[in-house]
């Protein structure tokens, strides 16, 4: 990583919006844009982007994943910073592309170049822009679910918490087993739906017990799983992507 770049936000920043946010949760992308713009970041959205290839990679279809990954690399080749509202998709690019392309030395150089500029949103704010208080206001009791990939592949634990705690009006509550998986796991959630739902049950139990009225995370995969159970059971706890919380005024 080029550290001289870190102190500057003049570098153009590309949104890597992820297919999930694009199709199902565009408001998360919109919130991201608002927060970044309010911090004076110049952003663009490479319109040819689709998916990073993770669903196929995690399902064992490396050949198919590779073709989609190559597309990602060519779309973002000329970008400065690349910022994504997902710890999981960021892990795919930063960690798992190396696995996917390990037998293609030609790709490794392109890959290193791009993956060293790719960040998850909360990590980008805290570690690159050096911002913890984005001026957000939200009145509520907030608990945070650690997305597995953000926590254990990218080792980002404190950054989202710092951001949440800096929001005016937020009472932050750490729930029991906050770092335990929610049971989503991509295709795992439909390959073994009963197991996935059973893991989810325990997550919901811990969220409810925390007494929070809002559950925040960095990944819409987890929030789609958690939110799906909350709404099914009529539990009035709000799910929010961290970008949405930080865009609240």
């Amino acid at each position: 990583m080029d550290t001289s770049k870190k102190d500057s936000i003049d570098i153009k920043t590309s949104l890597f919006i992820t297919c999930l946010v694009d199709i199902f949760f565009p408001q998360v992308g919109e919130s991201m844009v608002r927060v970044l713009k309010s911090l004076g970041v110049e952003i663009d959205f490479p319109e040819d982007q689709t998916c990073c290839g993770q669903p196929a990679f995690n399902s064992g279809f490396h050949h198919d994943a590779k073709e989609v990954a190559k597309r990602f690399l060519s779309v973002f080749n000329r970008s400065g910073f690349i910022v994504s509202p997902s710890g999981s998709c960021t892990s795919m690019v930063r960690v798992f592309y190396k696995e996917l392309f390990k037998n293609e030395p030609k790709m490794i150089e392109v890959l290193d170049n791009i993956s060293s500029r790719t960040y998850e949103f909360s990590e980008f704010l805290v570690n690159v822009l050096r911002v913890e208080d984005v001026g957000a206001i939200y009145n509520g009791k907030v608990t945070y679910h650690d997305s597995c990939h953000l926590l254990r592949e990218l080792r980002i634990k404190d950054e989202p918490r710092k951001l949440i705690k800096s929001v005016k009006g937020v009472e932050f509550i750490e729930m029991n087993l906050h770092d335990a998986c929610c049971g989503f796991g991509g295709t795992f959630s439909v390959k073994f739906p009963d197991v996935s739902a059973s893991i989810l049950d325990e997550k919901i139990e811990n969220i409810v017990k925390s007494g929070a009225d809002t559950i925040v995370s960095t990944d819409m995969g987890c929030l789609m799983q958690i939110g799906g159970a909350l709404s099914r059971r009529g539990i009035p706890i709000k799910t929010m992507h961290i970008a949405e919380l930080l865009a609240s005024r």
């Binding site: 919006i17 297919c19 946010v21 694009d22 199709i23 199902f24 949760f25 565009p26 992308g29 919109e30 844009v33 663009d44 959205f45 319109e47 040819d48 689709t50 998916c51 290839g53 669903p55 196929a56 995690n58 399902s59 064992g60 279809f61 490396h62 198919d64 073709e67 989609v68 597309r71 798992f96 696995e99 597995c148 254990r152 592949e153 335990a180 998986c181 049971g183 989503f184 796991g185 991509g186 295709t187 795992f188 439909v190 390959k191 073994f192 739906p193 009963d194 197991v195 996935s196 739902a197 059973s198 893991i199 989810l200 325990e202 799983q225 939110g227 799906g228 159970a229 709404s231 099914r232």
Partner: protein, 473 residues
């Protein structure tokens, strides 16, 4: 040996419904997690220690042929006998032959996953030999006529009430025994078995090449009794249990106990070098070490998944795994369960026997963080998933629907127009199922999601269209 194809989804279904099992698993894994966390937190250089343990394993596995030869020489020098077994059947025959030659009628066993792996008890019993498991957990599982469901705690799937009921049923004890009373009953029953057995069979935690010493770890004293009282001691190990130097043991013991049982050291650590010597007051007259391959050299041949062989069987990955916590050990279909089972079983039995197991994980990665030898289990799982899909058997096992789905997915991800079209079409198609902005019950295959939770609706305006409006604001 087990040859039926393992089916994780079917096998886990009954576990999920069993409330007793759910309670037992939750309590036990909670306790294991807490004591592990405390014990590893006490060590300042815990990460260094894990790295060192991994380095030793890595070096050993890379040069395993040399170390096994050194081990053979050392065992012979110590007066022991070495036997090499290509697979489980060979290992069973070797042990049976020794038993027959010595007219063995009864055997006491200390806990050993290797003997479970080759179904040694069935082989011995088939030859009319009485076999008694002497580890309390194994004893419980044996009288219940079940198989262990955890590497470390074989009866973890049972509550104390379950065990009291089992003792009443099978051993005619008073009903509702407390754990202390259960232990007392077992101890009384087992004492006689130790004294009358002709042969003791144990596993091996570590086998030191330079000295020919096998190390056995336990908390109940049953392994020490099994390996010292009977006339013959047979130890069975997989090839990966060899370690070059005696000093390696201190590193392993330091990481193993804390990861496994949250202890600084277990109650008993036995170092056994050959049979009884002239000067010894007691001990077995014969010591046999059976070293078996049983699929391990096949793992060795695959560089990408080789680290599976580093495992020292502490069970920490089982205790931390969100999947294991819900489905228990028996759902994995064979004796190795949890994350390590999900990578070990398909490699030992063949990927066609357990094609589901590499997929039976949410890839949360909690396992790699607790592994004392830092096995990157999620990475190995991903590699095995690829191997399943690349193999002929795997392709056969992949449903038509999944293959089509992947093709369609790739096609739409490679063509922006198709991608946008699919997203717009989905917005229209979803309408009949839409209720309060969510999809509550969808037809197959999407019902696999909506049976348990709501699915989000496809947005009318995808972000890419929204962007055009907001980019200049």
């Amino acid at each position: 040996m087990e040859t039926r194809r393992l089916r994780f989804e079917i096998d886990s279904a009954s576990a999920l419904k069993n409330q007793n099992l759910q309670k037992a698993l939750r309590n036990a894994t909670d306790r294991f997690r807490a004591i592990r966390e405390r014990a590893t937190g006490e060590i300042k250089d815990w990460e260094d220690l894990r790295r060192r343990a991994r380095e030793i394993k890595k070096n050993t596995i890379e040069h395993i042929d040399q170390y096994l030869e050194i081990l053979e020489e050392s065992i012979k020098k110590a007066g022991g006998t070495i036997h090499w077994a290509r697979d489980g059947n060979e290992a069973c025959s070797i042990i049976l032959d020794i038993a027959r030659k010595n007219k063995v009628k009864s055997v006491v066993k200390s806990k050993s996953m290797a003997t479970e792996e080759i179904e040694l008890n069935q082989a011995l019993e088939g030859a009319g030999i009485r076999v008694v498991e002497t580890d309390l957990g194994e004893y419980i599982v044996q009288i219940a006529k079940e198989r262990p469901s955890h590497i470390l705690a074989p009866a973890i799937h049972k509550t104390k009430e379950d065990i009291a009921r089992l003792f009443t049923e099978r051993l005619n004890t008073q009903p509702n025994l407390e754990p202390e009373q259960i232990t007392k009953v077992a101890r009384e029953k087992l004492r006689g078995e130790f004294l009358s057995a002709d042969m003791g069979i144990s596993g091996v935690n570590f086998a030191v090449a330079e000295t020919g010493t096998i190390v056995i770890i336990e908390n109940e004293g049953n392994a020490r009794l099994s390996t010292t009282i009977p006339r013959i001691h047979i130890a069975l190990m997989g090839i990966e249990k060899v370690t070059p130097k005696f000093e390696d043991i201190s590193t392993f013991l330091n990481v193993l106990f804390r990861s496994a049982s949250g202890q600084k050291i277990s109650a008993y650590v036995s170092f056994i070098t050959g049979p009884k010597r002239k000067s010894d007051a007691d001990g077995p007259e014969e010591f046999h070490l059976v070293i078996m391959d049983n699929g391990r050299s096949e793992i060795l041949a695959h560089e990408e998944t080789r680290e599976t062989l580093y495992c020292i069987r502490c069970g920490a990955c089982l205790n931390i795994c969100p999947v294991y916590r819900k489905v228990g050990g028996h759902s994995y279909g064979w004796i190795y369960s949890g994350p390590i089972g999900a990578i070990l079983t398909p490699q030992l039995l063949g990927i066609d026997k357990a094609p589901d197991l590499p997929f039976a994980s949410s890839l949360c990665g909690a396992c790699k963080d607790v592994c004392p030898v830092k096995i990157d289990i999620p990475r190995v799982l991903l590699e095995l998933r690829k191997r399943v899909k690349d193999s002929k058997e795997g392709r056969k096992n992949t449903g038509f629907g999944e293959r089509i789905a992947v093709r369609l997915w790739r096609f739409s991800m490679e063509h922006k127009i198709i991608y946008s079209l699919v997203s717009s079409l989905s917005y229209i198609v979803q309408k009949p199922w839409l209720k309060n902005g969510r999809l509550r019950s969808l037809p197959l295959p999407f019902s696999r999601w909506t049976n348990h939770r709501d699915f989000p609706a496809v947005s009318k305006t995808p972000f890419r269209r929204m962007w055009r409006e907001i980019k200049d604001t």
